[in-house]
C-alpha cells in the first residue's frame, strides 16, 4: 500500500484532484470574503451556487455555449445577491435569516425551473462540458504537469482570481472602501463613501462568484445538473472564509486543504483501508475544525459584520 501512495501516478492524481475539487470551494470562498469584508455574511451561498449551477447548465443546454452558461450563472448569482442586498443592506434585516431565506428560495427555484425546462426524463440531459486544457510545455513537467497544468479553464481563472481579489482588497481604492465599510461603516460614511451601495456591489460580486462556482460543477466537473450537486460546498466556503481570516490567499489555502482531504479520503477507500467509510467522510470536517483551532487566536473578524447600517439608529 505504501508503494501505491508514493507512486507518481498517485501523487499526480491527488494533486490534480485537490485542485479540481477545491476550485468551486475556492471560488465561493473568494466571493464570501468579498461580501464579508464589506460587512455582510451571505448565508445565501449554498442556494446561490445551486441556482448558478442550474441556470448555467440550462443556458448551455439551450445555446450550446459553455461561456454563455458561465455568464448566465454569474448573472443568476448577481440577481439573487441583489435580493439579499435589498433585504439585509437596504432594509437592514438580519443577515442570518435573509441569507438562509435566499438559500431556501433559490434551491427551490433552481430545481423548479430545471424541472419545468427539462421535465423528468429517465436519463438526464447532458452538455458537452469544458475539458481540461493542458498548458503547452508546462504540462510535460513530471507530476506538476499532469496536475497543475492540466486543468479546466475555470480552474485556471480561479487561480488568477486569488491574487486578483487580494490586489483588489489591499491595493485598490475600491478595496480600501470595502475593508473600511466592513470594519467601521460609520467611518466610511463620514468620508462620503456610500455604505449601502458598496455593500450591494460586494454582494453582487460575491454572487457572481457563487454562481460560477456552482456552474463549475455542472459545466466542467460534470456535464449534467442533479439536485444535490452542491452538496454543502457552500457551507464549507463559509468555514474557509473564517479559516482564512478573511484573507483571499489564506482562504484559498483552506480550500486546497479541504479539497486535498476530500481527494485523499476517496483514495484511501480505493486502497482498501478497512474502516467504516463514514469515518473517511468525516475526516475533512474534523481536520478543518482542528485547523481552525490552531489559527483562531489571531482571528480578526470584520468589526462591522452582521450589523446593518442605518444612520439614525442610536448606538450604531
Amino acid at each position: 500500500m505504501m508503494s501505491e501512495i508514493f507512486s507518481v501516478a498517485f501523487i499526480t492524481g491527488i494533486i490534480a484532484a485537490t485542485l479540481r475539487m477545491s476550485t468551486p470551494i475556492i471560488l465561493a470562498t473568494l466571493g464570501e470574503i468579498i461580501t464579508e469584508r464589506s460587512g455582510v455574511l451571505n448565508l445565501g451561498i449554498e442556494g446561490t451556487m445551486l441556482f448558478g449551477a442550474a441556470i448555467g447548465f440550462l443556458t448551455t443546454l439551450s445555446t450550446g455555449s459553455l461561456w454563455l452558461g458561465v455568464l448566465a450563472a454569474a448573472l443568476a448569482g448577481i440577481a439573487l445577491s441583489l435580493i439579499m442586498a435589498i433585504l439585509s443592506v437596504y432594509l437592514g434585516l438580519s443577515q442570518h435569516v435573509s441569507g438562509l431565506g435566499i438559500t431556501i428560495f433559490a434551491s427551490g427555484l433552481a430545481m423548479f425551473i430545471y424541472r419545468l425546462v427539462v421535465g423528468s426524463p429517465t436519463v438526464p440531459p447532458i452538455i458537452d462540458p469544458f475539458s481540461p486544457i493542458a498548458i503547452p510545455l508546462l504540462s510535460r513537467i513530471p507530476i506538476l504537469g499532469g496536475s497543475f497544468f492540466t486543468q479546466y479553464s475555470l480552474t485556471y481563472i480561479t487561480w488568477l482570481l486569488i491574487p486578483a481579489v487580494s490586489i483588489f482588497l489591499f491595493k485598490t481604492r475600491a478595496g480600501l472602501r470595502v475593508r473600511t465599510i466592513g470594519q467601521n461603516p460609520f467611518a466610511a460614511d463620514t468620508v462620503g463613501v456610500n455604505v449601502n451601495l458598496t455593500r450591494t456591489l460586494c454582494l453582487a460580486a460575491g454572487g457572481a462568484f457563487f454562481g460560477v462556482a456552482g456552474a463549475f460543477l455542472t459545466l466542467a466537473h460534470q456535464n449534467m445538473f442533479l439536485i444535490d450537486v452542491i452538496g454543502g460546498r457552500g457551507w464549507i466556503a463559509i468555514a474557509m472564509t473564517i479559516f482564512g481570516n478573511w484573507n483571499p490567499v489564506m482562504g484559498a489555502v483552506g480550500g486546497l486543504i479541504f479539497g486535498f482531504l476530500d481527494a485523499l479520503q476517496l483514495r484511501l477507500q480505493t486502497l482498501g483501508v478497512d474502516l467504516p467509510f463514514h469515518i473517511f467522510l468525516m475526516i475533512p470536517y474534523l481536520i478543518t475544525i482542528f485547523a481552525l483551532i490552531s489559527v483562531s487566536r489571531k482571528a480578526s473578524v470584520p468589526a462591522g459584520l452582521l450589523k446593518p447600517y442605518r444612520r439614525e439608529d442610536k448606538g450604531g
Binding site: 423528468s120 436519463v123 447532458i126 466537473h221 449534467m224 442533479l226 439536485i227 452538496g231 480505493t270 478497512d274
Partner: protein, 310 residues
C-alpha cells in the same frame, strides 16, 4: 369528496422519497407511466416525500380510494406504509423493501439487476488490459452490494487476475464526489468502471476508459464510453400485479421474480456504438450466459455483504 367518487377507472399511486430524476424511483415512475397509458388507468405520484411525511401521504392516497399504491419504502417508509396497509385491507400495496411481505395485502419488490451486473463483470474481466476494475457506489446496502458482488464475481469467473476497487461516496447523489472517486480508480489503473451512481462517466470520458451504466440504459450520457448498462424494468412487476388485482387474485407476495432477467425485469443494455469494440468471443460468452440465465440453468450468485476494495 365528490371529485374522488369511484368512476370505475383503476387508480394507481406511487410514493417516492426522492425526486423522480433519481434512477431507482425513476425506473418505477417510467414503468408506471407506460402502463398507465397502455391500460388507460389513473396514475398519480408524490415525489420528494420526506421521511416524516411519508405516513401522511400513504394515508392520503388510501383515504382517496386508490386501488394500487406503490413506492419505495426503504428506511423511512417501512413502518408507516405497513401500518397504513393494515388499516386498508382492500387496497393493494407494493413497496420496494428489504423486509418481508405483510399479509394480506402488502407485497414487496426490489430491483434485481445483479444478473446484468454479473454479465458486465464478465465483459470487463475479459476485456481489461490492466486487470484493475473499479466500482463507484452510493452506500453499502444490500441492493448495491448485490451489484458490486455480482460484478466482481462475473469478472473473476473469466479472469482470476483482476482486482476490483470499490469506493462509496456516502450519499445517493453527489456526482462531483462520484467523479473524483472514479478518477482515483483510473489512477489506480482501472480501465473498466461500474457506475452505480451518476458522476462516473465524466471521469471515464476524460480518461478514455469504459464504463457500465446502472438502472437504465445510460449510453446516451456518454456514447463513447458507456459500453452497456444494467437495466431494471419495473413493467413486469406492475403489469402482473395489476392483472392480479383486477382478477381478484392479489395477495401479499415477494415480487422479486418479476424483476429478474427471465421475466424481462432486468437486462443488459445494447452495446450501441461500441458494439464493434467488443471482441467476438466476449459477445459470444455473454450471449451464452444470458441464455443460461434465462433458462435457469445458471444462477448468478447473490452476494449481499459489502465488497471491500482489493
Amino acid at each position: 369528496d365528490a371529485e374522488q367518487a369511484d368512476d370505475g377507472v383503476f387508480k394507481m399511486a406511487a410514493i417516492f422519497q426522492t425526486s423522480i430524476e433519481e434512477p431507482w424511483d425513476g425506473a418505477i415512475h417510467v414503468a408506471a407511466l407506460k402502463i398507465a397509458e397502455e391500460m388507460g388507468l389513473t396514475y398519480e405520484f408524490a415525489e420528494n416525500v420526506k421521511a416524516a411525511d411519508f405516513s401522511k401521504v400513504v394515508r392520503e392516497y388510501s383515504e382517496r380510494g386508490f386501488d394500487f399504491i406503490i413506492g419505495d419504502a426503504f428506511l423511512a417508509g417501512e413502518e408507516p406504509s405497513r401500518a397504513v396497509a393494515k388499516d386498508y385491507p382492500d387496497i393493494a400495496y407494493a413497496f420496494g423493501s428489504e423486509f418481508d411481505i405483510q399479509a394480506p395485502n402488502y407485497s414487496v419488490f426490489d430491483n434485481w439487476i445483479h444478473e446484468p451486473a454479473y454479465l458486465s463483470g464478465v465483459i470487463a474481466g475479459m476485456m481489461t488490459e490492466s486487470n484493475v476494475l473499479g466500482v463507484v457506489a452510493a452506500i453499502p446496502i444490500p441492493e448495491v452490494n448485490r451489484l458490486v458482488g455480482a460484478f466482481k464475481a462475473g469478472a473473476l469467473s473469466v479472469n482470476s487476475n483482476v482486482t476490483v476497487k470499490v469506493a462509496m461516496i456516502g450519499s445517493w447523489f453527489d456526482p462531483p464526489k462520484a467523479k473524483e472517486a472514479a478518477v482515483s480508480m483510473i489512477e489506480a489503473g482501472a480501465d473498466f468502471l461500474f457506475a452505480e451512481r451518476f458522476g462516473v462517466f465524466e471521469a471515464a470520458k476524460e480518461a478514455g476508459v469504459y464504463a457500465f451504466g446502472n438502472m437504465s440504459d445510460q449510453n446516451a450520457l456518454a456514447p463513447d464510453v458507456v459500453i452497456s448498462s444494467c437495466v431494471w424494468d419495473m413493467y413486469p412487476v406492475l403489469k402482473n400485479s395489476i392483472d392480479a388485482i383486477q382478477n381478484g387474485t392479489w395477495k401479499a407476495q415477494n415480487l422479486k421474480d418479476w424483476s429478474m432477467m427471465a421475466a424481462g425485469g432486468s437486462s443488459l443494455a445494447p452495446y450501441h456504438g461500441l458494439e464493434s469494440k467488443i471482441p467476438a468471443d466476449v459477445k459470444a460468452k455473454v450471449a451464452d450466459l444470458q441464455k443460461q440465465i434465462m433458462a435457469g440453468t445458471f444462477v448468478v450468485p447473490v452476494i449481499e455483504t459489502p465488497t471491500v476494495s482489493d
